[in-house]
């Protein structure tokens, strides 16, 4: 009997631990809501003021019921006015808004929605398309709304799911940009005139910005690690698609990608502008020990929030000398989703809230401004307020070079870092040797991943190989 005790204990501890992880977490934080107005559709006789051009919100429309909304906590600062106004326009709709910490959001939302306890409307990101849309957890926007969205927003159909329906649209685009520390830049005798147009010029400037004491790097000229997202750009920068048309093959194993990757690897291993064991890019940029980093525009919002006095600048990713232009991986932010379990009435209310969001420039302006996004709303394309933001200005000027690849699997970043970049940077493995393993690993992930890349739908797709 005693001998059975330990194996039983092992059994309980092992599978008990695993099972505990799979228990549906119950609701944690909840926030407040407010807001309102009236109105909404696009075809009925208006009863109040009409907001919007094609997507139209009738402020006088009479609606009643209760609507539950989830949003991530940090987004409260720019999304709360939407909820406040909605409550004002729709006094008979009880709006319950819950703000959830970002770290918990993506664990809770799928579980809560699938468990039948989820909100009617929720913040969404396209990287969770496979998880949420393909699992049938989201409801498509109505044909009427989609038709109106096509007239007010760019690229609506690029975000169609495999079933052809639109479950969300891009609200703003954001591709990688180069951040630079203005003080370190000035210390090195550089001015805005020195902002490089090509990666080759960039490399010289990065070397100029690097500060060393003996072999030790005190200030990294350019830090891109961990480069889980930047690696995708290496393919586009070399003028190559990332995926095969069916989305089942990663197309990195070619000379153009190898050349591009070798360039960035050499910046670390040959030029010594950074070290693979240097603190990561975001942290070291905040600490002032990295003069330039690559990152998405959202990082500007983080810097402004955490370090309001920190002076940084942004410029577009350069192009390679032998290329006529650069191409970037567009990482868009997308609109809120609707719970698939909403009945007809709840769906109508959910779309009514989204209609106000889409129709008015006001909320979309805040949405783009606070998250540093290039707007996809056509009426905001020439907005002076957005254009006056130095980060958004760079994005907007360079937006034509941005390519939406599609909802790539989350696992891919880890696959590429650990099977491609780590072996090359940390273990001295050649790119030729590491690349087939990395491609095989990603292809293994893609084999079970149900999606269709959107690269070919890009307006500049014919320029890529």
């Amino acid at each position: 009997m005693k001998k059975l005790l330990a194996p039983l204990l092992a059994c309980v501890l092992l599978i008990g631990t695993f099972a505990a992880c799979s228990n549906n977490p119950s609701e944690s934080s909840s926030g407040s809501g407010s807001g309102t107005s009236s109105g909404g559709g696009t075809s009925e006789e208006p009863k109040g003021e009409i907001i919007g051009e094609n997507v139209q919100f009738d402020t006088g429309k009479e609606m009643e019921g209760e609507l539950n909304v989830w949003f991530y906590e940090d987004g409260k600062r720019f999304i709360q006015p939407l909820f406040d106004d909605y409550q004002k326009y729709r006094p008979n709709v009880k709006l319950n808004v819950t703000y959830v910490a970002w770290g918990d959001y993506w664990t809770k939302i799928p579980v809560e929605v699938s468990g039948g306890n989820g909100p009617d409307v929720f913040y969404f990101h396209n990287s969770y398309q496979n998880l949420m849309v393909d699992s049938g957890l989201m409801k498509p926007y109505s044909d009427e709304l989609v038709e109106a969205l096509r007239k007010d927003y760019k690229g609506v159909d690029s975000y169609a799911a495999l079933d052809g329906n639109i479950y969300y649209i891009a609200t703003g685009g954001g591709h990688g940009v180069i951040y630079y520390n203005k003080a370190l830049w000035a210390d090195a005798g550089l001015t805005e005139e020195d902002i490089p147009e090509t990666w080759e010029e960039f490399r010289e400037i990065a070397m100029q910005l690097t500060q060393k004491e003996g072999d030790s790097i005190k200030v990294a000229g350019f830090n891109y690690t961990p480069a889980s997202a930047f690696i995708n750009d290496w393919s586009l920068l070399s003028g190559r698609f990332l995926f095969s048309e069916d989305g089942k093959q990663l197309l990195f194993d070619n000379d153009d990608f190898k050349k591009s990757m070798q360039f960035f690897v050499d910046m670390y291993l040959v030029d010594g502008i950074c070290s693979p064991t240097f603190p990561d890019a975001e942290q070291s940029f905040k600490d002032g020990t990295s003069a330039m980093i690559w990152n998405h525009p959202y990082f500007a919002g983080i810097l402004r929030g955490e370090l309001p006095d920190f002076e940084f600048g942004v410029f577009p990713q350069p192009r390679f000398e032998d290329k006529e232009r650069n191409w970037h991986y567009n990482n868009p932010d997308v609109s809120m989703g609707i719970n698939a379990q909403c009945d007809e009435k709840q769906t109508e209310l959910a779309e009514d809230l989204l209609t106000l969001f889409f129709a008015s420039d006001k909320y979309m302006l805040d949405w783009c401004k606070e998250q540093c996004l290039a707007p996809t709303k056509i009426s905001l394309e020439d907005n002076e307020e957005l254009a006056s933001d130095p980060v958004i200005k760079v994005l907007m000027e360079d937006y034509d070079n941005s390519i939406y690849v599609g909802p790539t699997p989350n696992q891919m970043g880890q696959d590429l870092v650990q099977t491609l970049l780590d072996p090359v940077l940390l273990s001295g493995v050649s790119i030729d040797e590491a690349l087939p393993n990395a491609v095989a690993k990603v292809n293994q992930t893609l084999a079970d991943y149900n999606w269709k890349p959107a690269e070919c739908d890009s307006a500049i797709a014919d320029e890529l190989k």
Binding site: A6, L14, I15, T17, A19, T107, S135, P226, S275, Q418
Partner: protein, 302 residues
């Protein structure tokens, strides 16, 4: 064998009424998930929709063909073997030393047990910053001594030894306390008798104390092995980043099977496959545990 007096109906009723609630709780929260995990390992299982498609032994055959699973198992065994070995030997000798101290023994117990009661994820994060190769405190001190510190968690060759060091530091106190209780529980008469017979120093430890501590040693080893074969929280704290791209890295050198199960289940949402790996790991732990008990219980005193 003498049989005890049989219980009255009232006593039996009372006993069952005490046991049944616990049994129900165990069935719901322990046995049911175990059975579901085993059942789910034969399905392509989407936990979000609840859709389960039977695929026979596909998850198991995929697991045996998955080179990353093999690597994670090797990592797990490597970590478990060295962490248990070093921790057990160290804890035994420190317990011996502390048991011989008459004063401030409580202070030693507190100091050694302190890391055990600290939050795992918080201490892992602190260690990660301390061990940062180029900006961390540890390498800063080493540099002041003229020593070039290693890459610790960012060097594929050093990453797992670093995790082992962290594990030893974190869990040492628990193993130490068990040994200390065991050493202090040894009858002084037995030790004195052995010393009269000429067993002093090493001989006393080898032929008297160690055999008497065998049950405690086996207990310590078995519980450590069971815990370490499932390790994953500390790995996430030590190696994870905001994008999770580095978790279990570099080059999967710290990806343990426990972490791999978590990633398959809750990042890739392949619950069927994750269940199959969990069952495989369960069988491995079961075999190891039985072997440890068999070889550690030769005199039947466990």
């Amino acid at each position: 064998m003498k049989r005890g007096k049989s219980l009255t109906f009232k006593q039996t009723l009372f006993a069952w009424s005490a046991v049944i609630p616990c049994f129900i709780v165990i069935c719901i929260f322990v046995l049911s998930p175990i059975i579901q995990t085993f059942y789910g390992s034969f399905f392509n299982w989407n936990a979000l929709t609840g859709k389960m498609t039977f695929n026979g032994f596909d998850n198991y055959s995929n697991a045996f063909k998955d080179p990353l699973l093999g690597k994670t198992l090797l990592n797990t065994f490597y970590l478990t073997f060295f962490a248990v070995l070093i921790k057990t030997i160290l804890a035994f000798f420190v317990a011996m030393a502390v048991s011989s101290v008459k004063k401030v023994q409580g202070l030693y117990r507190s100091i050694f047990f302190l890391p055990t009661i600290c939050t795992m994820i918080a201490t892992a994060y602190v260690f990660r910053f301390l061990l940062q190769p180029e900006a961390g405190t540890i390498n800063g001190y080493l540099a002041a001594l003229g020593i070039s510190g290693p890459g610790w968690l960012l060097d594929p060759n050093w990453a797992m030894p670093t995790v082992i060091l962290f594990t030893i530091w974190k869990d040492f106190g628990y193993v130490f306390l068990i040994f200390l209780a065991g050493v202090q529980g040894i009858s002084k008469d037995v030790v004195e008798a052995a010393m009269i017979d000429g067993a002093t120093g090493f001989k006393k430890v080898r032929y008297v104390i160690l055999p008497l501590l065998r049950p405690i040693t086996v207990y310590n080893v078995v519980t450590q092995v069971i815990g370490l074969l499932q390790i994953f929280i500390s790995i996430v704290g030590l190696t994870g980043d905001s994008s999770n791209a580095s978790t279990g890295g570099p080059m999967y050198s710290t990806t343990t099977t426990g972490l791999y199960i978590y990633q398959q289940a809750f990042i890739s949402y392949k619950l069927g496959y994750a269940s199959a790996i969990a069952v495989i790991l369960f069988v491995i732990i079961m075999v190891f545990t039985l072997l440890q008990i068999k070889f550690g219980d030769r005199k039947g005193d466990f």
